[in-house]
């Protein structure tokens, strides 16, 4: 009936727990209770005499017995005591089994123990925690001595490597998606096993018995010890409750337990976050604390005991930062205080070189976080290094993770604190918000390397997009809608980090609209043209569409294994392509369109002020609707200049990926051809062109061009371009032969022939009300645009708009045209003639 007594005692313990006995007190009391019971059993057993020793192992050996943990026991005996064992085991173990306890037991001689310990690393580690309960003390002492002499001493390096290998394998196994949502508080990263791994190693290798010893030995700092104790105490309480709640040995925090635990620990729902989410946030933070401290501990010990690293050469990268044995080091505390942006530079070097940051330097970052003040948060140097990480780090996830773990990221972007380790209580969001944000940056990087997303690649400001990926959920955990709030927070951050006004606006737009495409693709009719036009209006530019598209995919991929499917991919691609077509046709979404030409005229009059002119009626409506009032006023001023100067005027602007060139000139035959020819001569490829002729014969052309390789906006000789254009317009420059000369080598490329497909010309009168659209598909070559436009000029065809896109060698030229009488080209014979002429040009 002895098991009844045991049960009663354990029930009493649970009662005490309900009365408030918690944490370490509970697990110690539990161990004591079992100790008392086992000792009395042993003493009362007549067979348990000399030659037998009862030993507690593992968690029980450490006096850390959680409510339903295994009770690991070892019955150590001399070979002579063999015949009395059965009686002893019956007396000791049977009542435990009857009481429903999980007992792990071994009956071994000293030699068998040592043999087993050699074979089985887990048993070896369990022996580290061995504690004598009853019976022969000499037997127990000799086990301890021989164990340390035979297995530990002289094998320290091996022991450490085994421990680290097991730790890594465990982290991988318990780091999978399902354990992210429902963490295993014993085996997951930062769980009890990590705590034990640290104590085992300290104990076995350095003879250190508790945290204070470890601190005094300089393996952890006083701050780390405090944080560690706080976190581990909290984990102990959680695990006690989890055992009682589950009614069995269960160490995984399943969803249903999470809610109950949160309530029991008095976490209540608040606007913006559920109680259970706050509870899990605290739990994840504790796990992270343990993980960080034990990581650094193992790096430190490994360095002390491990084999010397391959590359002993010390190399200074910049003052205060050095590479030593393939690790990055901060070397100068005084310099850090003088130039605190070195903290961020350390990470930008880590990103660039792909090297790890030495554990001591990570600690230096953490102890210097007080230097990250408001001034540093506005520092240009700091921002530059930070963007360098976002854009260029080889393994951006790893570098940002260390930045988060050391606390630098939250110190630099305090907005991050709110979402640090914030959990979302559903099966969809696998990662905590902070990790999800880092993952998104990493997924975005992968996208920019992959070819599958080909229609939307290349954005003007990749750094803005990367920052948007890092910030898109920054508004979570508040009452307010997270996209709206996030957009406000992001605007503040953008400004602080020194983005231009336009970039900040773009960042804020991306954060606000990061769900727009996904939600719209799933919930709206993609054939509703009016709705799509609204979308296009909101998105405004193709570049923004590309950014949103990439951000949507990266966000979904970083959310969890179910969030991104080929099905969603198809829907997202469809809506993005549809919106992109609308964005390409600027006329449908230009903001001033609705306000009409009248309104425009009014604005222009106001802007012109004293320079007012009388002949506004020369401005065609189509023209008025294509520019902003400021641009029209500017063009009018340039016209005055044009009349005085008697030669064409050019102006260029840089727009990131492309440059735009404004040409104001007097109309003349073949004007566009001459412009295109001159641009080609200067190595500029025309991507699109808008051509307007005022009724007084002033021509306003806007050409978007892309430079050939090796040219930058600054090195481009704009004055020479202006001179050549004016020579060409005065018919003093032989464009044809110059172009042939310039591109002579390009014409005779070795592989060109293989890739050629037959050119094609299509003339379409149905797509546009006013214009005949001529499309030419041809193998691109320098100067082709010049010849095509010259051919059209020969036919006295007026080109109103041109769009040119080239994909590898195949180019598509699209012209919106009218004939010399300002009507569409309807005559089939004339159409045929134009086609033939153009094909002739394209084939040559």
């Amino acid at each position: 009936m002895i098991d009844v007594e045991l049960r009663a005692k354990r029930d009493a313990l649970e009662y005490l727990w309900r009365q408030g006995l918690s944490g370490k007190d509970l697990i110690h009391r539990h161990s004591q209770l079992i100790d008392d019971y086992l000792v009395s059993c042993f003493v009362n057993c007549p067979a348990a005499k000399e030659g037998i020793s009862l030993v507690a192992l593992g968690g029980y050996g450490r006096k850390e017995l959680f409510p339903y943990s295994d009770i690991d026991l070892l019955l150590l005996h001399t070979p002579e005591a063999e015949n009395r064992l059965e009686a002893v085991t019956q007396a000791l173990f049977y009542p435990l089994w009857d009481a429903g306890l999980e007992v792990g037991h071994g009956v071994r001689t000293l030699n068998a123990c040592l043999d087993d310990a050699r074979q089985d690393f887990f048993f070896q580690v369990a022996l580290l925690d061995a504690r004598h309960l009853a019976g022969s003390e000499t037997l127990f002492t000799s086990l301890q001595q021989t164990f340390h002499e035979d297995l530990i001493a002289g094998h320290r390096q091996e022991f450490l490597q085994n421990m680290m290998q097991h730790r890594n394998e465990r982290h991988q196994r318990y780091g999978r998606h399902s354990y992210q949502l429902e963490p295993h508080i014993k085996e997951s990263r930062g769980g009890f096993r990590d705590i034990q791994a640290m104590t085992w190693v300290s104990h076995a290798l350095f003879g250190l018995h508790d945290l204070r010893d470890i601190e005094e030995a300089g393996l952890i700092s006083p701050q780390e010890r405090e944080a560690f104790v706080l976190a581990s105490d909290s984990l102990i309480k959680t695990r006690n409750r989890l055992h009682y709640l589950s009614g069995r040995k269960n160490d995984q925090l399943f969803f249903e337990h999470q809610e109950e635990m949160a309530k029991a620990f008095k976490y209540y729902d608040t606007p913006g976050a559920l109680g259970v989410e706050r509870f899990m946030q605290d739990l994840y933070r504790h796990l992270q604390t343990i993980a960080n401290i034990t990581d650094l501990f193992f790096e430190h010990v490994d360095e002390t005991l491990g084999a010397p690293r391959a590359n002993p050469i010390e190399q200074a990268i910049e003052p205060g930062i050095t590479v030593r044995q393939d690790r990055l080091h901060l070397t100068d505390q005084a310099l850090i205080e003088k130039r605190p942006y070195l903290l961020m530079r350390l990470f930008s070097h880590a990103g660039k070189t792909g090297l790890d940051i030495h554990h001591r330097s990570k600690k230096i970052v953490t102890t210097n976080l007080h230097l990250v003040d408001d001034r540093l948060r506005h520092s240009k140097r700091m921002a530059k290094a930070f963007f360098d990480v976002l854009e260029n780090a080889k393994d951006v996830l790893a570098v940002l993770s260390v930045m988060l773990d050391t606390g630098l990221l939250t110190a630099y972007l305090p907005e991050f604190e709110q979402i640090r380790a914030l959990a979302q209580h559903d099966v969809y969001h696998v990662f905590t918000v902070d990790r999800h944000l880092l993952q998104t940056v990493a997924e975005l990087r992968k996208l920019s390397f992959s070819q599958t997303q080909a229609p939307f690649v290349g954005v003007e400001s990749p750094h803005v997009l990367a920052l948007a990926a890092l910030l898109h959920d920054i508004g979570k955990g508040h009452h307010e809608d997270h996209s709206q709030l996030g957009s406000k927070l992001a605007a503040g951050i953008g400004k602080r980090l020194g983005l231009t006004e336009a970039e900040t606006a773009c960042l804020s737009f991306l954060v606000e609209k990061h769900l727009f495409l996904t939600v719209t693709a799933l919930r709206r009719d993609l054939e509703d043209d009016e709705f799509l036009r609204q979308c296009a209006k909101q998105i405004q530019t193709p570049d923004r569409l590309t950014m949103l598209y990439l951000l949507s995919i990266a966000d979904a991929k970083a959310t969890g294994p179910t969030a991104w499917t080929a099905w969603k991919d198809a829907l997202l691609l469809e809506i993005s392509l549809k919106i992109s077509h609308l964005l390409e046709r600027e006329d449908t979404i230009l903001p001033n369109k609705s306000q009409g030409a009248e309104w425009m005229l009014e604005q222009v009059r106001n802007l012109m002020g004293k320079m007012a002119i009388s002949d506004y009626e020369i401005l065609p409506e189509e023209y008025m609707l294509s520019f902003s009032p400021e641009e029209v006023a500017h063009h009018l001023k340039l016209r005055t200049e044009l009349k005085n100067a008697k030669h064409a005027l050019t102006e260029s602007t840089e727009h990131g990926l492309f440059w735009s060139i404004l040409v104001i000139a007097q109309d003349s035959t073949g004007l566009l051809a001459k412009i295109c020819g001159t641009l080609a001569l200067h190595g500029l490829n025309v991507a699109s062109a808008q051509i307007f002729t005022w009724e007084d014969g002033t021509v306003v052309d806007v050409l978007n061009v892309q430079p050939a390789a090796e040219q930058t906006y600054a090195t481009q000789d704009w004055q020479a371009l202006d001179n050549d254009l004016n020579l060409a317009l005065k018919n003093r420059l032989g464009l044809s032969h110059r172009l042939v000369d310039k591109f002579r080598t390009a014409f005779r490329g070795p592989n060109q022939k293989n890739m050629q497909t037959a050119p094609r010309v299509a003339i379409d009168n149905s797509a546009s009300k006013q214009y005949t659209i001529i499309e030419i598909f041809a193998n691109d070559r320098p100067g082709l645009l010049y010849e095509i436009t010259r051919t059209l000029a020969d036919f006295e065809i007026n080109i109103h708009q041109a769009k040119i896109s080239s994909d590898s060698d195949q180019a598509v030229y699209v012209f919106y045209t009218i004939d010399g009488f300002a009507t569409k080209i309807n005559d089939p014979f004339f159409q045929q003639e134009i086609s033939q002429a153009l094909l002739h040009v394209a084939e040559n």
Binding site: P455, L522, R523, D525, A566, A570, L573, D807
Partner: protein, 112 residues
């Protein structure tokens, strides 16, 4: 008993689900599917490059109802999922031999 399979446009899912709930239909299986019928895949050209959208994303709803309910349910789905444009989807009605509820072992009408 009949099984009703409806292939509809994704954005119509919520409406159809609500309409069926209002009719007292409590259970359904929903899956994301891709396919094409008369609304063939199409070619998109963007910045000069072609993208072929060969299968079109749709949502499939599966419901088991008593034979007497079939007409009402089909009509409701048709009305709700209809936009009048090509690609609105299709509804199939299939005979069902038996239904068993795994937990209790109930069969037939009781198990729906």
């Amino acid at each position: 008993m009949k099984k009703i399979e409806a292939i509809i446009k994704p954005f119509k899912l919520d409406e159809v689900k609500d309409a069926l709930n209002d009719m007292g239909i409590k259970g359904m299986t929903i899956s994301e599917v891709k396919g094409y019928g008369r609304q063939k895949g199409h070619k998109e050209i963007y910045r000069g490059a072609e993208y072929i959208v060969d299968f079109i994303p749709k949502v499939k709803i599966e419901i088991i109802v008593e034979a007497a309910m079939v007409e009402a349910v089909v009509t409701k789905i048709r009305e709700t999922a209809n936009t009048g444009k090509i690609g609105d989807g299709k509804i199939f009605v299939l005979p069902v031999e038996e239904v068993v509820r795994v937990r209790t072992g109930e069969t037939g009408k009781e198990a729906i």
